[in-house]
């Protein structure tokens, strides 16, 4: 009938590539009023993430054991192909939209990493703590960016893409993917925080 066709079309439309952002004239409302100094707060959160990214990266690859600490370039290189792009010279709106996608991507990936590490390294408590803290900041940052997009640019929805699910992968692959993601995160967050 029609419904399966629509579903298929919709699935095809949304698969693979992110949806375009909401038109400017679309209605947008946030549940709570945005913070008056929102951009400053976003910058501070980015700076906070940038400040802790390297420590998180080190904690992660140290907890995985050999060969990770001594083969960072081969195991933890930022070779994440589907990572959302970021253009530092774009407009604020563009940058905020790209930032939103990056944060969403990172949030999901960090969730996978945290879940995996709780199983793979149950005794690495400091790593768990750092992962959770980073995820918390990312959530706050996501909310702030959305608030800014909504209030200033009337963007209520941004389609996002996520990284691969690691649940079905072998242990070494989980470790490696997590390391690559954190290496990429460290690299990207430095650029974003400077923008």
């Amino acid at each position: 009938g029609v419904v399966p066709l629509l579903l298929v079309l919709h699935w095809k439309h949304g698969a693979g590539t992110p949806l375009p952002i909401t038109p400017v004239n679309a209605t947008c409302a946030t549940r709570h009023p945005c913070h008056s100094n929102l951009m400053n707060q976003i910058r501070n959160q980015l700076a906070q993430l940038n400040g802790s990214a390297n420590a998180l990266f080190i904690l992660y690859y140290t907890a995985q054991g050999e060969p990770f600490p001594n083969n960072l370039d081969k195991l933890c290189g930022p070779n994440v192909t589907d990572f959302p792009p970021f253009h530092a010279n774009g407009t604020e709106k563009t940058r905020l939209v790209e930032l939103y996608r990056i944060i969403a991507y990172l949030g999901a990936s960090l969730g996978n990493i945290t879940r995996d590490q709780k199983v793979l390294n149950p005794n690495a408590l400091s790593l768990h703590s750092k992962l959770n803290a980073t995820a918390d900041i990312l959530r706050g940052l996501l909310s702030n960016v959305l608030c800014r997009l909504c209030n200033k640019y009337h963007v209520a929805h941004v389609d996002v893409a996520y990284g691969p699910d690691t649940s079905g992968k072998d242990v070494f692959q989980k470790k490696k993917l997590g390391c690559q993601l954190l290496g990429k995160y460290k690299q990207v967050i430095a650029v974003v925080a400077q923008a």
Partner: protein
């Protein structure tokens, strides 16, 4: 049954026909060959799973068949495994068989084929096989993907110590791939151009999170890895045991050994299975489990404890009779009844284990450092009587029980304390005394030692003292001293008395100690002897007494240097004539004095011996304080009379006097000695410790000496430090001093006298104004030139006129103007009046002088400041100062004088302001007044100006100004 017979017959017929067929040339295949062989791969367990069927079986036909399975690796000719699988085959049955590969199946292709035969183990002869099935290929490499490098197996779980095979598959055809285990490179073998295999033998447990194995190519970034999970080997449970406390539950315990939990594997689980009842329970704790005893009477239990993890199972068994595994609970409710001074009854309760069982209980009693043990049989309540106890003593009683019928284990102890009742003290207190006479009255100080716990039998409350005077003239006295006093001082009405001391507790009174204080003080003339202490104490001995004694007593002070002294004593039997006094309080270097008394039958002590000694003699630590007297050029005397030989750290045997001198010669009576610092000196030895003076003689005058007096003992002498220094005087210096001192004194006296009488001396010897009467010049003139010349007597001078000059009013004259005014004279005239106000200057002319003389020196008009301070005027005693003062104040004086006013100056004719009477000048400054002129009256010898006609003035004056500075 008929069906079975038919089938068997058919099978035999078929078998026979098959054998016949085989014997004829094996040209036809066996009809029951395996068919439809399918091979599947399970990479999780690295298993090949085979599935096939056997056709041509009749319906409901079944018989045992053997399937021979061949497995080749990489190529079909490389057979690595052959196995005969025997099973019963039924009609239309799908058969299964699995094989676990040591090599990860992803590493190489595998080929499988099989053939079958009827299992005819009961029939002799060779087995008839069917033809081989075709080779089935198991190739996982095709489904690996496009990555250039793979490592297998993934996340494998093995036991510690097992062998593991790792391989990598390279699709990039690289040969320089290196693989590592925990950073250590592994050496492998090449299976084919793209596959290498690594055999790990006896893998070790490293960590719970697994061991990283990785391979990296020589070029590119493609590090690939896998994690190998090595678990510890599951151990058999140890010390498996079950017991019951109440016949309701069984508590089974064991030692689980090491935990085999891993990321890929949970910890081992434990299951308890009882075979008689067929019950099974999963034990959540790892080291114990509770089992409910069946309500029906099951005596025997056969338990199987199974430990299990992902890789292994281990079991232990235990068979026992429940009544033999009774571990009673600890007794409870311990009580003590009928507690007296020497006995008590303890009761307790036990948890019942059934009316048919008897408990054996063990009772222990701890007290006074001893342990007693008793066994008691108990059904429900236990009781035991403790006897022979000590009064007022705390005891600890404890009890535990076990099954009396079949001993398995004791219960835990249950314990309780109790204290026996008090009894009257059993021993008399040990008492001693010290008697002294104060103002003719005997005062006894009693000392007693507290009764020991076994003697006191309770808490001592009082010490009772009864004094009975022996001559019966006084009434007995009774005193009660509360504990814990250990002595008291009693003034006695009479010395001869008997004192009885008892100790009382809440139950009764002890026997009495009796002391008799005698009127006679005892033999105090006993000579003191020295005794040498040892590590064990002071060995004391004395002569046995001819008269009957009831015992001996040794008395000493443990703190002889402290005023309370801490008097101690030791009672000894009548047959004892020696003892060793020891005490922890004895210290080396302290002299202890011992007095040994004999106690007569009348309880009167009398002194037998006095001993003194050191537990250990120490070398003197201090030298005497030496006073040096009688220092002469040849000798001096040393004295140290304050040095007490009694309070030293050892017996003083004498003294050494060391004398150091530059000459280094020692005279008779001394010997050379070399001190520790290699200094040579003379040593004088004094053998008598009571000789505390010494004269050092034969010294050289004006020589420097150093001396030291140090005591010497059997263990050494005092320290060689702090030599005193002395220098002998010159031989003649006393005589010189006797002469020089008075001379210096006299000179000083004269100088002081001259200084104090300098004015008088000046006047007498060289006055500023010579007295004409005393002048020798005058006498010379008088004698040689004019015998009539004489000195005018002041009394003869009668002033005949006073000329008063009124100065012009309103005029101010400068010094130069004053200089040009003639004849204007300023004289100082002594007056009794106060210079309260300025006035016109009056000059008294003295006609004794001629005009020339008066012009030149007699009368100067000196303006005087109206109110000059005395100190300022005092400066006028010097002509120069006076002139300066005049110059300084002149203008001011003029300025301050109002216009029209005149001043009157008086000029003394009696004394010069420069003379000794100068004090009049500052104290009585001339008051400015009307200016008067006064001319000095003086007889002038010939050659000088002729005297004025009026020579009646009796005053003389002297000018205040120097020559050439006169103002006219």
């Amino acid at each position: 049954m008929a069906l079975f017979s038919v089938s068997q017959t058919a099978f035999l017929l078929a078998f026979l026909s098959l054998r016949t067929y085989q014997s004829e040339g094996l040209s036809e295949p066996l009809p029951w060959a395996p068919e439809s062989l399918k091979v599947s791969v399970n990479t999780t367990c690295q298993c090949l799973h085979l599935q096939w069927t056997v056709h041509n079986l009749a319906h409901h036909q079944e018989f045992r068949m053997v399937f021979q399975i061949e497995i080749s690796r990489i190529k079909t000719s490389n057979v690595i495994w052959v196995e005969n699988y025997t099973t019963t085959v039924k009609w239309n049955q799908v058969l299964h068989w699995s094989w676990e590969s040591k090599l990860p199946l992803e590493c190489a292709k595998h080929f499988i084929r099989m053939r079958s035969a009827v299992d005819a183990a009961k029939t002799p002869g060779p087995r008839v096989w069917s033809s081989w099935s075709s080779w089935e290929e198991a190739d996982v490499q095709n489904s690996l993907g496009q990555d250039p490098l793979f490592i297998f197996p993934k996340d494998k779980l093995v036991e510690e110590g097992s062998n593991v095979t790792i391989c990598y598959v390279s699709k990039s055809h690289q040969n320089n791939i290196s693989c590592y285990l925990e950073g250590v490179r592994m050496q492998g073998e090449q299976l084919d151009p793209n596959v290498s295999v690594f055999n790990l033998n006896h893998v070790a447990f490293i960590r719970e999170t697994g061991t990283n194995i990785y391979c990296k190519p020589g070029q590119g970034d493609g590090i690939k890895g896998t994690v190998l999970f090595v678990s510890k080997v599951l151990q058999e449970p140890k010390d498996f045991s079950c017991e019951t406390q109440d016949f309701m539950t069984l508590n089974c315990t064991w030692d689980p050994g090491s935990d085999t939990g891993l990321l890929k594997q949970l910890s081992q689980s434990y299951t308890l299975f009882e075979s008689f009842s067929g019950k099974k329970t999963l034990c959540k704790p790892k080291s114990w489990c509770l089992w409910q005893v069946a309500p029906e009477s099951q005596d025997m239990y056969n338990f199987t404890l199974t430990a299990e993890n992902y890789l292994r199972k281990r079991s232990v068994h235990l068979l026992f009779n429940l009544t033999h595994r009774v571990h009673p609970m600890a007794p409870f409710n311990i009580l003590f009844k009928n507690v007296s001074a020497t006995s008590a009854t303890m009761t307790w309760k036990v948890h019942s284990i059934g009316k048919y069982y008897t408990l054996l209980c063990q009772v222990e009693l701890y007290g006074e450092g001893k342990v007693t043990q008793h066994n008691v049989s108990v059904k429900v309540d236990g009781a035991h009587l403790f006897s022979g106890l000590e009064p007022d003593t705390e005891y600890l009683a404890q009890v535990r029980c076990a099954n009396g019928d079949y001993f398995w284990k004791w219960s835990e102890w249950t314990h309780q304390n109790f204290t026996t009742a008090e009894a009257a003290p059993s021993e008399a207190p040990d008492v001693w005394r010290n008697v002294k006479t104060v103002q003719g009255r005997c005062v006894v100080t009693l000392f007693w030692k507290p009764l020991s716990k076994p003697q006191a039998h309770g808490k001592i409350l009082f010490y009772n003292i009864v004094i009975e005077y022996l001559d019966r003239t006084s009434v007995s006295e009774v005193l009660s001293i509360p504990a814990p006093a250990s002595g008291t001082e009693l003034p006695l009405n009479q010395c001869s008395s008997q004192i009885r001391i008892t100790a009382s507790n809440s139950v009764g009174t002890s026997p009495a100690s009796v002391l008799v204080v005698s009127r006679e003080p005892g033999n105090e003339e006993v000579e003191e002897e020295r005794v040498k202490g040892t590590e064990d104490g002071f060995p004391l001995s004395w002569n046995p007494q001819p008269r009957h004694v009831t015992g001996y007593l040794v008395e000493w002070c443990e703190q002889p240097r402290d005023p309370p002294c801490d008097l101690q004593w030791k009672n000894l039997g009548p047959n004892v004539t020696s003892t060793v006094v020891s005490s922890d309080a004895f210290r080396p270097g302290v002299r202890y004095n011992f007095r040994i008394y004999g106690i007569s039958t009348e309880r009167v002590p009398y002194l037998l011996a006095r001993k003194t000694g050191y537990s250990q003699e120490l070398a003197p630590s201090d030298n005497p304080q030496v006073v040096m007297t009688n220092l002469t050029s040849h000798s001096f005397t040393l004295s140290w009379k304050n040095y007490s030989t009694e309070s030293q750290t050892s017996f003083i045997q004498g003294y050494h006097v060391y004398l150091k001198s530059k000459a280094g010669r020692c005279h008779s009576g001394s010997e050379k000695a070399v001190l520790s610092d290699d200094v040579v000196c003379c040593k004088y030895k004094i053998d008598n410790p009571e000789q505390k003076t010494f004269v050092v003689e034969n010294l050289q005058p004006e020589s420097f000496y150093e001396f030291l007096v140090t005591p010497y003992t059997s263990v050494g002498e005092g320290p060689h430090d702090a030599f005193a220094k002395v220098t002998t005087p010159d031989e003649y210096s006393p005589t010189l001093i006797r002469i020089l001192l008075p001379t210096v004194f006299c000179i000083l006296l004269i100088m002081i006298t001259c200084y104090l009488k300098s004015q008088w001396m000046k006047e007498k010897c060289y006055p500023d104004i010579p007295d004409p009467y005393k002048s020798s010049v005058l006498s010379l003139i008088k004698s040689k030139e004019n015998p009539h010349l004489t000195i005018m007597n002041i009394k003869d001078c009668v002033p005949d006129s006073i000329e008063v000059l009124n100065k012009q009013e309103g005029t101010r004259k400068s010094l130069t103007e004053t200089e040009s005014t003639k004849p204007t004279y300023l004289y100082l005239l002594p007056t009794e009046k106060r210079y309260s106000s300025p006035g016109p200057c009056i000059c008294f002319e003295n006609f004794t002088y001629n005009q020339a003389a008066s012009d030149s020196a007699s009368c100067g008009h000196v303006p005087v400041p109206p109110k000059a301070p005395p100190s300022q005027l005092g400066l006028l005693t010097s002509p120069e100062n006076l002139l300066k003062a005049l110059e300084k104040n002149y203008m001011n004086s003029l300025g301050e004088i109002p216009a029209g006013e005149t001043s009157l100056n008086y000029v003394s004719q009696l004394a010069s302001p420069m003379s000794g009477d100068m004090s009049n000048l500052p104290t009585n400054p001339p008051e400015p007044a009307l200016c008067s002129e006064y001319k000095m009256q003086m007889a002038i010898p010939l050659g000088l100006a002729s005297p004025p006609s009026s020579g009646s003035s009796s005053l003389s004056s002297i000018t205040l100004l120097d020559e050439g500075e006169h103002y006219h």
